[in-house]
Protein backbone atom coordinates (compact mmCIF):
# COMPACT_ATOMS: atom_id res chain seq x y z
CA UNK A 1 0.00 0.00 0.00
CA UNK A 2 1.54 3.28 -1.09
CA UNK A 3 2.29 5.67 1.77
CA UNK A 4 0.67 8.93 0.77
CA UNK A 5 2.64 10.80 3.42
CA UNK A 6 5.96 9.64 2.01
CA UNK A 7 8.31 12.22 0.49
CA UNK A 8 7.35 13.28 -3.01
CA UNK A 9 9.88 11.00 -4.66
CA UNK A 10 7.95 7.94 -3.49
CA UNK A 11 4.83 9.21 -5.27
CA UNK A 12 6.63 10.25 -8.40
CA UNK A 13 5.89 8.59 -11.70
CA UNK A 14 9.11 9.97 -13.19
CA UNK A 15 12.22 7.86 -13.72
CA UNK A 16 13.90 7.60 -10.32
CA UNK A 17 15.54 10.90 -9.43
CA UNK A 18 14.77 12.21 -12.87
CA UNK A 19 12.90 15.09 -14.39
CA UNK A 20 10.01 15.17 -16.84
CA UNK A 21 12.36 16.85 -19.30
CA UNK A 22 14.54 13.71 -19.22
CA UNK A 23 11.70 11.88 -20.95
CA UNK A 24 11.74 14.37 -23.87
CA UNK A 25 15.35 15.50 -24.41
CA UNK A 26 14.55 16.63 -27.96
CA UNK A 27 12.73 19.64 -26.50
CA UNK A 28 15.80 20.89 -24.65
CA UNK A 29 15.80 22.85 -21.39
CA UNK A 30 16.76 26.31 -22.58
CA UNK A 31 14.88 29.60 -22.33
CA UNK A 32 11.69 30.21 -24.30
CA UNK A 33 11.59 33.09 -26.77
CA UNK A 34 8.79 35.55 -25.88
CA UNK A 35 8.52 37.33 -29.22
CA UNK A 36 5.69 35.08 -30.36
CA UNK A 37 3.42 36.41 -27.61
CA UNK A 38 3.39 40.00 -28.89
CA UNK A 39 4.22 39.75 -32.60
CA UNK A 40 1.42 40.54 -35.07
CA UNK A 41 3.40 38.66 -37.77
CA UNK A 42 3.46 35.55 -35.59
CA UNK A 43 -0.29 35.89 -35.05
CA UNK A 44 -0.81 35.90 -38.82
CA UNK A 45 1.42 32.85 -39.17
CA UNK A 46 -0.60 31.01 -36.54
CA UNK A 47 -3.84 32.02 -38.27
CA UNK A 48 -2.68 30.77 -41.64
CA UNK A 49 -0.64 27.71 -40.74
CA UNK A 50 -2.44 26.40 -37.67
CA UNK A 51 -5.97 27.65 -37.12
CA UNK A 52 -7.03 27.36 -40.76
CA UNK A 53 -5.74 23.78 -40.88
CA UNK A 54 -6.50 21.92 -37.66
CA UNK A 55 -9.59 20.42 -36.05
CA UNK A 56 -11.18 22.90 -33.62
CA UNK A 57 -13.82 21.97 -31.06
CA UNK A 58 -16.96 24.10 -31.25
CA UNK A 59 -19.38 22.35 -28.89
CA UNK A 60 -21.10 19.14 -27.91
CA UNK A 61 -23.87 17.05 -29.39
CA UNK A 62 -26.10 17.66 -26.36
CA UNK A 63 -26.41 21.30 -27.45
CA UNK A 64 -28.25 20.16 -30.62
CA UNK A 65 -30.19 17.04 -29.65
CA UNK A 66 -33.07 17.30 -32.16
CA UNK A 67 -33.36 17.91 -35.91
CA UNK A 68 -33.50 21.67 -36.50
CA UNK A 69 -31.38 22.51 -33.44
CA UNK A 70 -28.37 24.70 -34.15
CA UNK A 71 -25.73 26.83 -32.50
CA UNK A 72 -23.32 29.43 -33.86
CA UNK A 73 -19.61 29.62 -33.11
CA UNK A 74 -17.75 32.74 -34.12
CA UNK A 75 -14.15 31.86 -35.01
CA UNK A 76 -12.51 35.27 -35.27
CA UNK A 77 -9.06 33.85 -35.96
CA UNK A 78 -10.45 32.29 -39.14
CA UNK A 79 -12.48 35.45 -39.83
CA UNK A 80 -15.71 33.53 -39.91
CA UNK A 81 -18.83 32.50 -38.06
CA UNK A 82 -19.96 28.88 -38.24
CA UNK A 83 -23.48 27.45 -37.98
CA UNK A 84 -23.55 23.92 -36.55
CA UNK A 85 -26.92 22.26 -37.19
CA UNK A 86 -28.57 18.89 -36.77
CA UNK A 87 -30.40 17.99 -39.97
CA UNK A 88 -33.68 16.18 -40.49
CA UNK A 89 -31.58 13.06 -41.10
CA UNK A 90 -30.03 13.59 -37.60
CA UNK A 91 -26.64 14.27 -39.18
CA UNK A 92 -24.66 17.23 -37.88
CA UNK A 93 -23.50 19.70 -40.54
CA UNK A 94 -21.56 22.95 -40.38
CA UNK A 95 -21.69 25.97 -42.68
CA UNK A 96 -20.13 29.38 -42.94
CA UNK A 97 -22.75 31.76 -41.56
CA UNK A 98 -23.16 33.89 -44.70
CA UNK A 99 -25.97 34.25 -47.23
CA UNK A 100 -25.13 33.41 -50.82
CA UNK A 101 -26.96 36.44 -52.21
CA UNK A 102 -25.02 39.44 -50.90
CA UNK A 103 -23.15 38.19 -47.87
CA UNK A 104 -25.38 39.11 -44.94
CA UNK A 105 -24.68 37.16 -41.78
CA UNK A 106 -27.41 34.54 -41.95
CA UNK A 107 -28.01 33.56 -38.30
CA UNK A 108 -27.68 36.29 -35.71
CA UNK A 109 -28.52 34.46 -32.50
CA UNK A 110 -26.17 32.16 -30.62
CA UNK A 111 -28.49 29.14 -30.75
CA UNK A 112 -31.99 28.08 -31.66
CA UNK A 113 -34.16 25.64 -33.54
CA UNK A 114 -36.05 25.81 -36.80
CA UNK A 115 -36.94 24.26 -40.14
CA UNK A 116 -34.99 26.69 -42.30
CA UNK A 117 -32.41 29.43 -42.15
CA UNK A 118 -33.87 32.65 -43.57
CA UNK A 119 -31.85 35.76 -44.30
CA UNK A 120 -33.20 38.99 -42.80
CA UNK A 121 -32.31 41.06 -45.84
CA UNK A 122 -34.24 39.48 -48.76
CA UNK A 123 -35.66 36.31 -47.14
CA UNK A 124 -33.53 33.88 -49.08
CA UNK A 125 -34.10 30.56 -47.29
CA UNK A 126 -31.91 27.51 -46.85
CA UNK A 127 -32.68 24.04 -45.58
CA UNK A 128 -30.97 22.41 -42.64
CA UNK A 129 -28.76 20.70 -45.22
CA UNK A 130 -27.59 24.08 -46.51
CA UNK A 131 -29.43 23.78 -49.85
CA UNK A 132 -31.08 26.91 -51.22
CA UNK A 133 -34.83 26.43 -50.85
CA UNK A 134 -36.48 29.75 -51.66
CA UNK A 135 -35.65 33.00 -53.44
CA UNK A 136 -38.39 35.67 -53.37
CA UNK A 137 -39.09 37.20 -56.85
CA UNK A 138 -36.86 34.55 -58.35
CA UNK A 139 -37.82 35.44 -61.94
CA UNK A 140 -35.98 38.74 -61.56
CA UNK A 141 -32.65 36.93 -61.27
CA UNK A 142 -30.47 35.69 -64.11
CA UNK A 143 -29.81 31.95 -64.48
CA UNK A 144 -29.69 31.06 -60.80
CA UNK A 145 -27.83 27.79 -60.27
CA UNK A 146 -29.24 26.63 -56.95
CA UNK A 147 -26.62 23.96 -56.36
CA UNK A 148 -23.84 26.54 -56.42
CA UNK A 149 -25.82 28.83 -54.11
CA UNK A 150 -26.02 26.38 -51.23
CA UNK A 151 -24.45 27.49 -47.94
CA UNK A 152 -20.69 26.94 -47.96
CA UNK A 153 -20.03 23.78 -45.97
CA UNK A 154 -17.30 23.30 -43.38
CA UNK A 155 -15.79 19.94 -42.53
CA UNK A 156 -17.35 18.69 -39.30
CA UNK A 157 -16.90 15.52 -37.29
CA UNK A 158 -17.50 14.18 -33.80
CA UNK A 159 -15.37 12.50 -31.17
CA UNK A 160 -16.97 11.22 -27.96
CA UNK A 161 -19.79 13.73 -28.42
CA UNK A 162 -17.50 16.71 -28.99
CA UNK A 163 -18.17 18.46 -32.29
CA UNK A 164 -15.09 19.60 -34.22
CA UNK A 165 -14.80 21.64 -37.40
CA UNK A 166 -11.87 22.08 -39.77
CA UNK A 167 -11.69 25.24 -41.87
CA UNK A 168 -9.40 23.71 -44.51
CA UNK A 169 -11.30 23.01 -47.73
CA UNK A 170 -9.65 19.55 -47.64
CA UNK A 171 -8.57 18.69 -44.08
CA UNK A 172 -5.14 17.05 -44.12
CA UNK A 173 -6.21 14.36 -41.64
CA UNK A 174 -9.42 12.90 -40.31
CA UNK A 175 -10.47 13.93 -36.81
CA UNK A 176 -9.59 10.47 -35.49
CA UNK A 177 -6.11 10.70 -37.01
CA UNK A 178 -5.70 14.21 -35.60
CA UNK A 179 -6.58 13.15 -32.06
CA UNK A 180 -4.48 10.01 -32.37
CA UNK A 181 -3.58 8.20 -29.16
CA UNK A 182 -5.06 10.94 -26.98
CA UNK A 183 -8.42 10.26 -28.60
CA UNK A 184 -8.29 6.47 -28.50
CA UNK A 185 -7.05 6.39 -24.91
CA UNK A 186 -10.05 8.43 -23.67
CA UNK A 187 -12.68 6.48 -25.60
CA UNK A 188 -15.33 5.16 -23.28
CA UNK A 189 -15.04 7.90 -20.65
CA UNK A 190 -18.68 8.70 -19.82
CA UNK A 191 -18.72 12.15 -21.44
CA UNK A 192 -22.36 11.71 -22.47
CA UNK A 193 -23.66 11.00 -18.98
CA UNK A 194 -21.50 13.76 -17.54
CA UNK A 195 -22.66 16.34 -20.10
CA UNK A 196 -26.28 16.46 -18.95
CA UNK A 197 -25.80 19.90 -17.46
CA UNK A 198 -23.12 22.53 -17.70
CA UNK A 199 -22.12 25.98 -16.54
CA UNK A 200 -19.84 28.16 -18.60
CA UNK A 201 -17.99 31.41 -18.09
CA UNK A 202 -16.69 33.45 -21.02
CA UNK A 203 -14.00 36.09 -20.67
CA UNK A 204 -12.77 38.60 -23.24
CA UNK A 205 -9.16 39.01 -22.25
CA UNK A 206 -6.62 41.55 -23.51
CA UNK A 207 -3.91 38.92 -23.82
CA UNK A 208 -2.43 36.64 -26.47
CA UNK A 209 -4.13 33.23 -26.64
CA UNK A 210 -0.86 31.50 -25.72
CA UNK A 211 -0.49 33.62 -22.56
CA UNK A 212 -3.98 32.49 -21.55
CA UNK A 213 -3.43 28.84 -22.50
CA UNK A 214 -0.06 28.62 -20.76
CA UNK A 215 -1.66 29.75 -17.50
CA UNK A 216 -3.74 26.57 -17.53
CA UNK A 217 -1.22 23.97 -18.64
CA UNK A 218 1.02 24.08 -15.60
CA UNK A 219 0.26 23.67 -11.89
CA UNK A 220 3.46 25.22 -10.49
CA UNK A 221 1.31 28.31 -9.82
CA UNK A 222 -1.27 26.47 -7.73
CA UNK A 223 0.25 26.86 -4.24
CA UNK A 224 0.77 30.60 -4.82
CA UNK A 225 -1.97 31.99 -7.07
CA UNK A 226 -4.64 29.79 -5.48
CA UNK A 227 -3.47 29.96 -1.87
CA UNK A 228 -6.79 31.46 -0.84
CA UNK A 229 -9.27 29.50 -2.92
CA UNK A 230 -7.77 25.99 -2.80
CA UNK A 231 -4.92 26.08 -0.27
CA UNK A 232 -4.68 22.35 0.33
CA UNK A 233 -6.52 20.53 -2.46
CA UNK A 234 -3.49 19.81 -4.65
CA UNK A 235 -0.62 20.21 -2.20
CA UNK A 236 0.41 18.54 1.05
CA UNK A 237 3.38 18.38 3.43
CA UNK A 238 4.82 15.63 1.26
CA UNK A 239 4.02 17.46 -1.97
CA UNK A 240 4.20 21.21 -1.28
CA UNK A 241 4.69 22.24 -4.91
CA UNK A 242 1.82 20.23 -6.43
CA UNK A 243 4.24 18.01 -8.34
CA UNK A 244 2.49 16.01 -11.00
CA UNK A 245 1.86 12.30 -10.86
CA UNK A 246 2.15 11.76 -14.58
CA UNK A 247 3.03 13.60 -17.77
CA UNK A 248 3.06 12.40 -21.35
CA UNK A 249 3.28 14.02 -24.74
CA UNK A 250 1.03 12.54 -27.43
CA UNK A 251 2.30 13.97 -30.74
CA UNK A 252 0.90 17.52 -30.78
CA UNK A 253 -1.25 16.86 -27.71
CA UNK A 254 -0.30 16.30 -24.06
CA UNK A 255 -1.60 15.07 -20.74
CA UNK A 256 -0.79 15.59 -17.06
CA UNK A 257 -2.18 13.98 -13.91
CA UNK A 258 -2.68 16.10 -10.80
CA UNK A 259 -2.03 15.02 -7.23
CA UNK A 260 -4.95 15.27 -4.82
CA UNK A 261 -4.43 15.76 -1.10
CA UNK A 262 -6.19 13.05 0.89
CA UNK A 263 -5.91 15.24 4.00
CA UNK A 264 -7.65 18.20 2.40
CA UNK A 265 -9.69 20.05 5.04
CA UNK A 266 -13.09 21.00 3.64
CA UNK A 267 -14.68 24.27 4.70
CA UNK A 268 -18.12 24.00 6.34
CA UNK A 269 -19.97 24.56 3.05
CA UNK A 270 -17.61 22.24 1.16
CA UNK A 271 -18.28 19.55 3.76
CA UNK A 272 -22.01 20.12 3.32
CA UNK A 273 -21.64 19.79 -0.44
CA UNK A 274 -19.68 16.52 0.00
CA UNK A 275 -22.42 15.15 2.22
CA UNK A 276 -25.02 15.70 -0.48
CA UNK A 277 -23.13 14.79 -3.62
CA UNK A 278 -19.73 15.09 -5.19
CA UNK A 279 -18.26 17.95 -7.14
CA UNK A 280 -15.29 18.72 -9.33
CA UNK A 281 -12.45 17.08 -7.51
CA UNK A 282 -12.44 13.88 -5.58
CA UNK A 283 -9.40 12.57 -3.82
CA UNK A 284 -10.49 8.97 -3.66
CA UNK A 285 -9.07 6.53 -6.11
CA UNK A 286 -11.32 3.68 -6.97
CA UNK A 287 -11.07 0.94 -9.53
CA UNK A 288 -13.99 2.18 -11.55
CA UNK A 289 -12.70 0.98 -14.90
CA UNK A 290 -11.96 4.37 -16.35
CA UNK A 291 -10.34 4.15 -19.81
CA UNK A 292 -6.58 3.70 -19.99
CA UNK A 293 -6.04 7.36 -20.79
CA UNK A 294 -7.59 8.53 -17.51
CA UNK A 295 -5.15 8.46 -14.60
CA UNK A 296 -2.80 6.53 -16.87
CA UNK A 297 -0.36 5.80 -14.05
CA UNK A 298 -3.29 4.51 -11.92
CA UNK A 299 -1.95 6.53 -9.03
CA UNK A 300 -3.87 6.24 -5.74
CA UNK A 301 -3.38 9.95 -5.02
CA UNK A 302 -4.87 10.97 -8.38
CA UNK A 303 -7.20 14.00 -8.49
CA UNK A 304 -7.78 14.63 -12.19
CA UNK A 305 -6.08 14.87 -15.59
CA UNK A 306 -5.58 17.84 -17.88
CA UNK A 307 -5.56 16.79 -21.55
CA UNK A 308 -4.23 19.52 -23.83
CA UNK A 309 -5.78 19.08 -27.27
CA UNK A 310 -3.71 21.17 -29.67
CA UNK A 311 -4.07 24.02 -30.33
CA UNK A 312 -6.52 25.61 -27.97
CA UNK A 313 -8.59 23.14 -25.95
CA UNK A 314 -7.92 21.81 -22.47
CA UNK A 315 -10.09 18.84 -21.50
CA UNK A 316 -9.85 18.02 -17.81
CA UNK A 317 -11.33 14.76 -16.59
CA UNK A 318 -11.96 13.56 -13.07
CA UNK A 319 -13.98 10.71 -11.73
CA UNK A 320 -17.40 12.34 -11.47
CA UNK A 321 -17.23 15.35 -13.77
CA UNK A 322 -15.11 17.06 -16.38
CA UNK A 323 -14.42 20.58 -17.59
CA UNK A 324 -12.99 22.35 -20.60
CA UNK A 325 -11.07 25.53 -21.28
CA UNK A 326 -11.09 26.97 -24.78
CA UNK A 327 -8.87 29.81 -25.96
CA UNK A 328 -10.13 31.50 -29.13
CA UNK A 329 -7.58 33.93 -30.56
CA UNK A 330 -9.11 37.20 -31.72
CA UNK A 331 -6.02 39.41 -32.18
CA UNK A 332 -2.39 39.21 -31.10
CA UNK A 333 -3.38 40.66 -27.72
CA UNK A 334 -7.01 39.59 -27.48
CA UNK A 335 -8.57 36.22 -26.70
CA UNK A 336 -12.02 34.88 -25.95
CA UNK A 337 -11.50 32.34 -23.19
CA UNK A 338 -14.40 30.07 -22.26
CA UNK A 339 -14.45 27.59 -19.39
CA UNK A 340 -17.25 25.04 -19.06
CA UNK A 341 -17.84 22.67 -16.16
CA UNK A 342 -20.00 19.60 -16.85
CA UNK A 343 -21.99 17.48 -14.45
CA UNK A 344 -24.45 14.61 -14.68
CA UNK A 345 -28.09 15.54 -14.21
CA UNK A 346 -28.90 16.54 -10.64
CA UNK A 347 -32.01 14.68 -9.55
CA UNK A 348 -32.23 15.92 -5.95
CA UNK A 349 -31.84 19.27 -4.27
CA UNK A 350 -28.80 17.92 -2.45
CA UNK A 351 -27.08 17.05 -5.73
CA UNK A 352 -28.11 20.40 -7.19
CA UNK A 353 -26.59 22.21 -4.19
CA UNK A 354 -23.43 20.13 -4.34
CA UNK A 355 -22.96 20.86 -8.04
CA UNK A 356 -23.63 24.57 -7.54
CA UNK A 357 -20.89 24.68 -4.93
CA UNK A 358 -18.61 22.89 -7.38
CA UNK A 359 -19.43 25.58 -9.96
CA UNK A 360 -18.70 28.38 -7.50
CA UNK A 361 -15.31 27.07 -6.41
CA UNK A 362 -14.36 26.36 -10.05
CA UNK A 363 -15.43 29.85 -11.11
CA UNK A 364 -13.65 31.67 -8.30
CA UNK A 365 -10.45 29.67 -8.93
CA UNK A 366 -10.42 30.64 -12.61
CA UNK A 367 -11.14 34.26 -11.64
CA UNK A 368 -7.84 34.07 -9.73
CA UNK A 369 -6.16 32.65 -12.88
CA UNK A 370 -7.71 35.36 -15.03
CA UNK A 371 -6.30 38.27 -13.13
CA UNK A 372 -2.67 37.85 -14.18
CA UNK A 373 -3.24 37.50 -17.90
CA UNK A 374 -3.84 41.11 -18.95
CA UNK A 375 -1.16 42.36 -16.58
CA UNK A 376 1.34 39.92 -18.11
CA UNK A 377 0.45 40.95 -21.68
CA UNK A 378 0.74 44.63 -20.84
CA UNK A 379 4.31 44.35 -19.59
CA UNK A 380 5.37 41.78 -22.18
CA UNK A 381 4.67 44.43 -24.80
CA UNK A 382 7.63 46.41 -23.44
CA UNK A 383 10.07 43.90 -24.92
CA UNK A 384 12.03 44.15 -21.66
CA UNK A 385 12.10 40.39 -21.28
CA UNK A 386 13.06 38.51 -24.44
CA UNK A 387 12.95 35.05 -22.87
CA UNK A 388 11.22 33.01 -20.20
CA UNK A 389 12.84 30.28 -18.11
CA UNK A 390 10.78 27.16 -17.61
CA UNK A 391 10.40 24.88 -14.61
CA UNK A 392 10.54 21.13 -15.20
CA UNK A 393 6.81 20.92 -14.49
CA UNK A 394 6.14 23.58 -17.15
CA UNK A 395 7.12 21.13 -19.88
CA UNK A 396 3.70 21.42 -21.49
CA UNK A 397 4.32 25.13 -22.07
CA UNK A 398 7.61 24.27 -23.78
CA UNK A 399 5.95 21.53 -25.82
CA UNK A 400 3.06 23.75 -26.91
CA UNK A 401 5.41 26.44 -28.26
CA UNK A 402 7.52 23.75 -29.91
CA UNK A 403 4.49 22.31 -31.73
CA UNK A 404 3.40 25.76 -32.90
CA UNK A 405 6.89 26.43 -34.29
CA UNK A 406 7.10 23.00 -35.93
CA UNK A 407 3.66 23.22 -37.50
CA UNK A 408 4.16 26.71 -38.89
CA UNK A 409 7.61 25.78 -40.22
CA UNK A 410 6.28 22.65 -41.95
CA UNK A 411 3.24 24.45 -43.33
CA UNK A 412 5.36 27.31 -44.69
CA UNK A 413 7.61 24.75 -46.33
CA UNK A 414 4.57 23.07 -47.87
CA UNK A 415 4.94 19.84 -45.92
CA UNK A 416 1.61 18.45 -44.76
CA UNK A 417 1.42 17.60 -41.04
Amino acid sequence: MMDLNAPTSALDARPAGGLWHDLYPELGTGPLDTAGLTSPEQFEREREHIFRKVWLTVGRVEQIPNPGDYFVQDIAVCKTSIIVVRGKDHRIRAFHNICSHRGNKLVWNARGSGQMFTCKLHCWSYGLDGQLRHVPDRDSFFNLDDASLALTPVAVDEWEGFVFVNLAPQPATSLAEYLGKLGTSLAGYPFDVLSASSASWTFEVKANWKVVKDAFQEVYHVPFLHKRSIPDSFTSKSNPFAHLLHMELLDQHARISLFGNAEFQPTPVAATAFRHGSFAVRNEYSDSRLPAGVNPSRHPAWAFDLNVVFPCLILAVSEGSYFTHQFWPVAVDRTVWKSTQYFPKACTAGQRFSQEYGHMIFRDVILEDGNVLEETQSVLASGAKKTFVLHDEELLVRHSHHVIARMTRESEAGVST
Binding site: R228, T272, A349, L367
Partner: protein, 109 residues
Protein backbone atom coordinates in the same frame (compact mmCIF):
# COMPACT_ATOMS: atom_id res chain seq x y z
CA UNK B 1 -47.12 42.55 6.70
CA UNK B 2 -44.72 41.03 4.19
CA UNK B 3 -45.55 38.11 1.92
CA UNK B 4 -44.03 34.72 2.75
CA UNK B 5 -42.22 33.14 -0.15
CA UNK B 6 -40.59 30.16 1.57
CA UNK B 7 -42.18 26.96 2.93
CA UNK B 8 -43.71 27.51 6.38
CA UNK B 9 -41.09 25.37 8.14
CA UNK B 10 -38.45 27.90 7.03
CA UNK B 11 -40.24 31.08 8.11
CA UNK B 12 -37.07 31.96 10.06
CA UNK B 13 -35.28 32.47 6.75
CA UNK B 14 -37.88 34.89 5.31
CA UNK B 15 -35.73 37.86 6.32
CA UNK B 16 -33.16 36.55 3.80
CA UNK B 17 -35.69 36.19 0.97
CA UNK B 18 -33.86 38.80 -1.15
CA UNK B 19 -31.13 36.15 -1.58
CA UNK B 20 -33.61 33.77 -3.17
CA UNK B 21 -32.49 34.48 -6.74
CA UNK B 22 -32.97 32.08 -9.66
CA UNK B 23 -29.85 32.75 -11.75
CA UNK B 24 -26.11 32.76 -11.11
CA UNK B 25 -25.88 36.26 -12.63
CA UNK B 26 -28.35 37.59 -10.05
CA UNK B 27 -26.77 35.76 -7.09
CA UNK B 28 -23.30 36.85 -8.13
CA UNK B 29 -24.42 40.45 -8.58
CA UNK B 30 -25.90 40.47 -5.09
CA UNK B 31 -22.68 39.06 -3.59
CA UNK B 32 -20.73 41.84 -5.32
CA UNK B 33 -23.01 44.67 -4.20
CA UNK B 34 -24.06 44.12 -0.60
CA UNK B 35 -21.88 44.80 2.42
CA UNK B 36 -19.70 41.93 3.57
CA UNK B 37 -21.35 42.07 7.00
CA UNK B 38 -24.66 41.11 5.39
CA UNK B 39 -23.03 38.36 3.30
CA UNK B 40 -21.52 36.90 6.46
CA UNK B 41 -24.77 37.11 8.41
CA UNK B 42 -26.66 35.42 5.59
CA UNK B 43 -23.94 32.73 5.36
CA UNK B 44 -24.22 31.86 9.07
CA UNK B 45 -28.02 31.88 9.10
CA UNK B 46 -28.18 29.68 6.02
CA UNK B 47 -25.40 27.31 7.08
CA UNK B 48 -27.33 26.56 10.27
CA UNK B 49 -30.35 25.47 8.22
CA UNK B 50 -28.85 24.02 5.04
CA UNK B 51 -29.10 20.36 5.99
CA UNK B 52 -32.72 20.78 7.07
CA UNK B 53 -33.52 22.72 3.90
CA UNK B 54 -31.98 20.09 1.62
CA UNK B 55 -33.69 17.28 3.54
CA UNK B 56 -37.03 19.05 3.03
CA UNK B 57 -36.35 19.66 -0.66
CA UNK B 58 -34.98 16.15 -1.32
CA UNK B 59 -38.51 14.79 -0.91
CA UNK B 60 -39.41 16.08 -4.38
CA UNK B 61 -37.55 15.67 -7.70
CA UNK B 62 -35.52 18.84 -8.12
CA UNK B 63 -37.11 19.58 -11.52
CA UNK B 64 -40.63 19.56 -10.03
CA UNK B 65 -40.37 21.74 -6.94
CA UNK B 66 -43.46 23.77 -6.06
CA UNK B 67 -42.96 27.53 -5.96
CA UNK B 68 -42.15 27.95 -2.27
CA UNK B 69 -39.71 25.03 -2.41
CA UNK B 70 -38.05 26.49 -5.52
CA UNK B 71 -37.56 29.75 -3.63
CA UNK B 72 -35.92 27.79 -0.82
CA UNK B 73 -33.71 25.95 -3.36
CA UNK B 74 -32.60 29.31 -4.79
CA UNK B 75 -31.76 30.45 -1.26
CA UNK B 76 -29.57 27.36 -0.84
CA UNK B 77 -27.83 28.16 -4.13
CA UNK B 78 -27.02 31.59 -2.74
CA UNK B 79 -25.21 29.91 0.13
CA UNK B 80 -23.03 28.20 -2.49
CA UNK B 81 -22.47 31.60 -4.15
CA UNK B 82 -21.35 33.39 -0.99
CA UNK B 83 -19.38 30.51 0.57
CA UNK B 84 -16.04 31.34 -1.11
CA UNK B 85 -16.41 35.01 -0.13
CA UNK B 86 -16.79 34.08 3.54
CA UNK B 87 -14.66 30.94 3.77
CA UNK B 88 -11.80 31.78 1.40
CA UNK B 89 -11.58 35.48 0.57
CA UNK B 90 -13.04 37.22 3.64
CA UNK B 91 -14.49 39.85 1.26
CA UNK B 92 -17.17 39.84 -1.47
CA UNK B 93 -14.81 39.73 -4.43
CA UNK B 94 -12.20 37.14 -5.28
CA UNK B 95 -8.97 38.68 -3.94
CA UNK B 96 -6.90 39.86 -6.92
CA UNK B 97 -9.44 38.32 -9.26
CA UNK B 98 -10.59 39.05 -12.79
CA UNK B 99 -13.63 41.36 -12.57
CA UNK B 100 -16.71 39.14 -12.50
CA UNK B 101 -18.76 41.94 -14.05
CA UNK B 102 -16.78 41.28 -17.26
CA UNK B 103 -17.74 37.60 -17.35
CA UNK B 104 -20.63 36.14 -19.41
CA UNK B 105 -22.35 33.25 -17.63
CA UNK B 106 -24.39 30.51 -19.28
CA UNK B 107 -26.16 27.39 -18.06
CA UNK B 108 -27.38 24.50 -20.17
CA UNK B 109 -29.48 21.55 -19.06
Amino acid sequence: MSISVLPAAFADLEIWAAWSLPTEAQRSARRQTVLFAEIEAFYHAMLARIDAALAHLDQTPVDALPEAEQRLMDLCLSLAEVAPAVEQFRQPQVVDGFAITRVTMDRLG
